[in-house]
């Protein structure tokens, strides 16, 4: 579903980018408790008023802020996350039977997304054995040790954030902003990256590119954080 060419431009408006998200889609959103989230895209997604989405994100932020609004505005049908404690709307909607929630250990979440992006059939992890996380999942024994088989995760669209992004989509991340953005950039049919700083091609040394531009389909310009 990549629309990008080498000779064309990947840079689009926020509205155009978000128009690619349709009701019922599965959407990944990078970031960790507000750090490294694509704030402009999340806001535009809220404004777009889409419903019935499945969201994959490591957390649901804190009440009233960023991703939290997608829950609060009842845009989600299903949620995969590792931590939802600071957003009371999740528990409320779960208890009311309005939202399906799959809590995923944070490392397993990262690895399931990576597997989805790397063409692997699943993840064999010791994490979650003997806990509710293991319910209904196959256990595979390798050389006498037992591992949970966790399935890959992919999305229709991934919304990621980068501190510096060049016009080919190469991304460099400041501080802890990379978190889930790197794996999510590999695991969706369409990857939209929000650039804090949009720069010319060549501005990022090839050794310091963290997410290669080939993974990014569309680029939007976001606000500066500081």
């Amino acid at each position: 579903m990549s629309t990008a060419t080498v000779t064309g431009s990947k840079v689009v408006s926020m509205a155009e980018a978000v128009s690619r998200v349709q009701p019922g889609m599965t959407v990944m959103i990078g970031g960790f408790m507000g750090c490294g989230n694509p704030h402009g895209l999340v806001e535009a997604l809220c404004v777009a008023g889409l419903t019935d989405l499945t969201l994959i994100a490591t957390d649901t932020s804190r009440a009233g802020f960023g991703i939290a609004k997608l829950v609060e505005q009842r845009r989600l049908r299903k949620l995969y996350a590792s931590h939802v404690g600071l957003n009371p709307a999740v528990a409320a909607q779960l208890n009311a039977g309005e939202l399906e929630v799959e809590l995923v250990p944070q490392g397993t979440l990262a690895e399931r997304i990576r597997a989805g992006g790397a063409g692997l059939g699943g993840v064999l992890t010791p994490t979650g054995l003997g806990t509710p996380v293991a319910d209904g999942k196959p256990v595979i024994e390798v050389d006498g040790r037992r591992f949970l088989l966790e399935k890959p995760l992919r999305a229709d669209v991934a919304l990621i954030a980068g501190s510096t992004i060049d016009r080919l989509g190469n991304v460099w991340y400041r501080g802890t902003t990379r978190n889930f953005n790197t794996v999510m950039a590999t695991a969706a049919d369409l990857v939209i990256a929000e650039a804090e700083h949009l720069v010319e091609v060549g501005a990022i040394a090839p050794e310091n590119v963290v997410t290669p531009g080939v993974l990014v389909d569309l680029i939007v310009e976001g606000d500066e954080l500081a």
Binding site: M33, D59, Q106, A110, G130, T176, R178, N179, V210, A226
Partner: protein, 229 residues
């Protein structure tokens, strides 16, 4: 056994004292050069009590190797810790992504993790992430940490409103099976052994019987019980 240095009773320990007793004792579990992940809350107080000459490398599972604290003037929107709070990366550190971070955690690269608990039991089972119907924060990175770290230290108050948190068998959903190596509370230091729980150190403010009555599991007592302070 050394005589108690102070005759505080349990009731007389305020919250800050309890936390300091626990954090101070946990600090002695860490060796120079250890690569360590500290859970949110009490465990983050451990580094201030590290002995002279002992420096550890802290990990923040959201992506910092050699994490540091944050002073008001250095607050940055780009660096947060695993609790989402402002943090820093010390000189010589590295920022890593979540897959790499949990590769380090799950892969046995972490010398120790210190974290709180709702319940721990005689088999070293840990419950720390959910109280069904009441509290559902999610497990975050805890399940990976306790499975992957070479040494799992639970740092917690001995009881919750007077009820034991150390039990014969956890009643809450588990974080992981048989993962806990050591329990440090304000009352005692308890090792998880293949044959159950073993009291090895005690806060001189308490008697062994007091510790036992605050513990919901069989508690063997080491031949030599030393003061934990």
């Amino acid at each position: 056994m050394t005589a108690p240095t102070s005759a505080v009773s349990h009731a007389s320990l305020d919250r800050a004292q309890v936390r300091e007793i626990i954090a101070r004792r946990v600090a002695r579990e860490l060796k120079d050069g250890d690569f360590v992940n500290l859970g949110i809350g009490l465990p983050t107080e451990v580094p201030q009590y590290l002995p002279d000459g002992v420096q550890v490398v802290l990990e923040s599972e959201n992506g910092i190797v050699y994490a540091g604290s944050c002073t008001t003037e250095h607050i940055s929107p780009y660096v947060v810790d695993a609790g989402g709070q402002p943090a820093s990366c010390l000189v010589g550190g590295a920022f890593i992504d979540s897959a790499t971070s949990f590769g380090l955690i799950r892969g046995g690269h972490m010398d120790a993790t210190v974290l709180g608990a709702l319940q721990v039991d005689a088999a070293g089972n840990l419950a720390s992430w959910i109280i069904p119907g009441k509290l559902m924060p999610g497990m975050g990175g805890a399940m990976d940490l306790v499975v992957g770290a070479k040494r799992v230290v639970v740092a917690m108050e001995h009881t919750q409103k007077g009820s034991p948190k150390i039990l014969a068998a956890c009643t809450l959903p588990l974080t992981a099976v048989a993962c806990v190596d050591l329990i440090v509370t304000e009352m005692a230091v308890i090792r998880v052994t293949p044959s159950g729980l073993l009291l090895t150190e005690i806060n001189p403010a308490f008697t062994v019987d007091e510790v036992r009555s605050a513990t919901g599991a069989e508690l063997a007592v080491a031949e030599l019980v030393v003061p934990m302070l």
